[in-house]
Structure formats: C-alpha cells, structure tokens
Symmetry: C2
Subunit: 208 residues, 2 copies
C-alpha cells in the first residue's frame, strides 16, 4: 500500500530491528489484527533516536491513537514527559493500560479531546509530533509555533502520504500534506528534512 | 543506479531541498561532472540535522573525499570542529579551498593518510562518520570504539549498498556492509537505525 521504499529493502530494515519489549509487540499485534494505523517499528525507532539526541523535557503528540508512538517517546525519555492526545476515550484508556504495563505512567499524560486545543495549553514544547487528520497539519504547526521551545523538533507522520504527494491528486488529505511540507521546507525558522521511512516522516529542526 | 527509494519520491524530496550556498552547489556540480561519489544533498541535510541536535565538539570523518559531507558538518557546527581525512592529497587540497571560500577554516582540520590510523589520535569523538572502503567499516568501528564520547553518534554512508545488502551477492563490499550493519544492530551499546536516504545512511546512537 505504501509505495515509497523498495519492499525488499523495507524487509531488510525490519530484519535488523529486533524487538523484545512485550508492550511494543502487543501493540503491533493488535494494530495488525484490527487494521489500526500506527507508525511502524522503523518510525518508532526514529522517534527513539531523535528523543535520545534531543533529550526533551516535554513531548506533545497531536493524535496518539492507542499510544504506539507515545510509547516509543516514553521509552527514550531520560527526564521529561510525553503528552498523548486523542479524540477517542477508548484509545486513551488502552494507552494508559499499556503505559502501566511498561511502567511509564510517571512520564506520561493522557488527554482526550481536540489535540490542537489541548496542545495550546503547553509551553516550551521540545518535540511536537503530528499525526492528526492530514488537512489539519498546516493549521497545527501555525497555531502552535508560539508554544515551541528553542531548537524544538517538529515531527510529522505520513509526510509522503502513500507517495501521493509526488502525483497530481487533489483530494483534501494530499493537498493538506503538500501544503504542510511546502510550508515547512520554506520556513526560515526551520531546517526541514523528510525521511522516506514507511509513509514518510518529516523532521524539522527549529533553528531559533 | 541506487534502487532504494521510488524515483518520483526521490525527486519530490530533492524538490523540497532548495539550496543557495555557492560552495555546496559548486561541489555538487563538480561531483556530477567528474562522476565523483558524494553523499547527496538529502544525506547532507541529514548530517546537518543530526549535528544540530547533537551539538558536537568533535566530528571525525573517515573518508572525506573532496569535502562535501564535511562541509555539511561544518555548516551545522556551533562550537566544535570537524576532522576531514582522505588518502588523496589533491582531495584535501580541494576541500581546503572550498572551506576557505565558505569561511569555515576555523572549524576544520584536513589530514592526509589512513583514516582509521589518523582517527585513533582523537578522543571523545561525538560524531564518527564512516565513508571509506566498504570492507573496512567493521574494523573502523571496532577499532575506534574506545575513542567515542558519551552518547556518540556513528553515521555510515552506503549502508544499503545499492540495495545489494538485501540480496545474495557475496563480493567483499556487500559482505562488509552486511557484517557491519549486523554488528551495529546487535551491539548492546548502540541503538541503530538505517535511513533509506539515497544509498542508505546508518545512524547509531551510543546509549552509554
């Protein structure tokens, strides 16, 4: 479905990404069974790497689903905390259960409601992770710019949107992602790259 | 030639990576004209991003060619310095000229000779960049492990070796890269990812 990295390379990369954390494995299994969209293990590992490098005090996720990406942030945190947000109370309840099992409750908050509105209540965000409806990405980053800390990271999932960003599709989601990518790439306060992992992860480093 | 990311996606990514630095543009032009292998602009931007996040005092490159990757490190440095190494005196001379033009001479050293031997003279390396002969990667990282600083990054170019790592080729280079990737992925001191940019960039974070 995602047509970005050559399949045999994707397999090779996954083969080098062994995992023995029972919570990660359980979430991956459930995502597969229920066809629930999660960033995959390779993107999870990217989040872990970026968190290790950035050493954030505050990570805010817009659109946490049932907590897979949030769990990767939590694993990598040394001192800080991660705020998970989702519209669905049941998703947040499941995330709570998994974080309890992983012994990460002390470093997480679980908030139900409109992700952008919730995030506006936080200042000095070190990593902002965006995985909400695709037409809302641009609004999200524009709204939350004042809430970002110095040298913050903005990380956005689905930045290549099944490869559709490179085509002529004009649906709301594709246009939303294209506008967002273009905005970030052209913004003088950000140094932006898109990594072609799974469905594309945009990583933007705030240079101010 | 490099068969890793779908071509139209590669084009899209390059289209979002505008550049106006005359030294970068000159080096890219010369690399094209002479068919001289360089990490491309997307990998260059990855090096810039990682350097911004890591804020290294010391970057050591094994195999700098004529200085393209080293120039991206230099651009991103706030305080530290980058050590470039190459067997070829002419490459180092060219790199010196470019760094002078870019006004980066104060943050660079240029060393001619065996890269691994030269690197052994440095302690507390924050970023080790590996781009020498592919069968030497494993030896390089094993030899230089004691020279790495806390939470060092190891970054290696060509980690997917034209996609050959996912096949059954048994030439010295392919086997060398496969062994290196396997070693890094299995090493308990490193958290390792391979990013499928151009020919693959291995990024390993030292967790100790």
């Amino acid at each position: 479905m995602v047509n970005i990295t050559v399949p045999k390379i994707q397999e090779y990369l996954l083969g080098l990404a062994d995992e023995d954390d029972r919570c990660v494995l359980e979430m991956e299994r459930i995502a597969g069974e229920r066809n629930f969209p999660i960033v995959d293990r390779l993107v999870g590992r990217l989040l872990f790497l970026l968190t290790g490098l950035k050493k954030p005090r505050l990570v805010v996720e817009l659109g946490s689903g049932f907590g897979y990406s949030g769990y990767w942030f939590a694993r990598a945190l040394e001192h800080g905390r991660v705020v998970l947000t989702d519209y669905d109370e049941k998703n947040m309840q499941y995330a709570r259960d998994v974080f309890r099992k992983g012994a990460f409750m002390d470093r997480a908050e679980f908030r139900v409601g409109n992700a952008i509105e919730i995030a506006k209540g936080y200042q000095e965000i070190d990593i902002l992770f965006i995985d909400i409806d695709k037409h809302q990405y641009l609004d999200a980053v524009q709204t939350l710019l004042p809430n970002l800390g110095r040298n913050a990271l903005v990380v956005a999932d689905n930045a290549l949107w099944y490869g559709k960003v490179a085509g002529n599709k004009r649906d709301r989601e594709t246009l939303g992602i294209k506008k967002f990518n273009h905005y970030m790439a052209g913004h003088r306060d950000f140094f932006t790259t898109i990594l072609p992992l799974r469905d594309g992860a945009l990583v933007a480093y705030k240079v101010s």
